[in-house]
Amino acid sequence: MTLKDNFIKGFFKENAVFVLLLGLCPTLATSSSAINGLGMGLATTFVLVMSNIVISLVKNQIPDKVRIPSFIVIIASFVTVVDLVMSGFLPDLHSSLGLFIPLIVVNCIVLGRAEAFASKNNILDSLIDGVSMGLGFAMALTILGSIREILGAGTIFGIDLSIYPTDEKGAPVTMLMFILAPGAFIVLGYLIALINKIRNV
């Protein structure tokens, strides 16, 4: 398998969210706006790439029986790094993602790739796998976040599109539901249906 195939596989063919349906909790929770989705996607990408690299380096040193706890400790360390760096340099994003930063630890994508790919392949392949899976996840979150932000607030990345009529006070009348919890489920449901349709044709 060439590096390019490896990349396309993770980014598109086996997209974590749309095809494998992994990591749905952060997908639904942090995609209330395009910027939140992108931030969460990139944070997860960092953890995924770093943990893939380290696990593929130490895979021969770890006894088979304790490999899952060892992987979790490695992943949790990088999650702590992301948590601290983000609260230092991007406090706004950190507070809007909130609880879901520490919860990257239990994101099934990260442990799934560690177990299924990085523990069996060399560093370069694991690196590419982490980058492609992570960016695929970030892309999915950004698409979902953009749709929800456009429908629910009439903006994208915070830029006003002024597509909605305004009420007598001048505030836009938006479909707030799409920013709240129900919108997340419904938009993702229709997106996956659309992707199924495209893949089957």
């Binding site: 349906l21 749905l24 909790c25 952060p26 639904l28 929770a29 899952i68 706890p69 979790i72 400790v73 949790a76 360390s77 999650v79 702590t80 948590d83 601290l84 609880l99 520490p102 919860l103 630890v105 239990v106 994101n107 099934c108 442990l111 539901m177 709240l180 919890a181 129900p182 919108g183 997340a184 489920f185 419904i186 993702l188 449901g189 229709y190 996956i192 249906a193 659309l194 199924n196 349709k197 089957n200």
Partner: protein, 190 residues
């Protein structure tokens, strides 16, 4: 009174699955039949109460005492993973019928973000030990509640003529969305 507020808020208003998005994987994965949904709900309740008690003690008597709160994520996930293993071993020995009922769900719970999420939320909300336990139990009951309702709907959904592209996960997500919309009606009770 404060306990009643915590319970109503955790079960209905801020339902852990439908408004906090914690534990979506088991919510989607094991909600095809009401029986499995009940089993998973019971297993989660058991582990969540136990895990939040243990993590609370660890936070107060180890992490805060030695000023190493930044190790929270690592410490919690390890404790939860070990605890789930321990529960599995003890149940197998002490109560085989209970193990039969909950056993298959226990390994799945380690990576259930609801457990870690609730443990961290208890610390973030500055609950006392007893409030934390009540909050954990109520959250788990809210999880089981949502899971069972959803399983009931999905059992009927199997008999429906759903458009081809929407079958399986997409229609389940849309149904979950409508359920979340219904739960939004509880907002304002507390």
């Amino acid at each position: 009174m404060i306990y009643l507020t915590i319970i109503i808020s955790a079960i209905f208003v801020n339902n852990i699955v439908l408004s906090q998005f914690l534990g979506i994987c088991p919510f989607m994965g094991v909600s095809k039949k009401i029986n499995t949904a009940l089993g998973m709900g019971a297993a989660v309740t058991f582990v969540m109460v136990l895990a939040s008690m243990v993590t609370y003690l660890i936070q107060k008597y180890i992490l805060v005492k030695f000023g190493i709160e930044f190790l929270q994520t690592i410490a919690y996930i390890l404790v939860i993973a070990a605890l789930v293993q321990l529960v599995e071993i003890v149940l197998k020995k002490v109560s085989p019928p209970l193990y039969q009922a909950l056993g298959v769900y226990l390994p799945l719970i380690t990576t259930n973000c609801a457990i870690l999420g609730v443990a961290i939320l208890i610390i973030q909300k500055n609950f006392s030990m007893l409030e934390g336990i009540v909050f954990a139990a109520a959250s788990a009951i809210g999880f089981a509640f949502a899971l069972v309702i959803f399983a009931g709907i999905r059992e009927h959904l199997d008999l429906m003529d759903v458009p081809k592209g929407m079958r399986g996960t997409p229609i389940a997500l849309v149904v979950a969305g409508i359920l979340a919309l219904a739960f939004m009606g509880f907002a304002g009770i507390v």
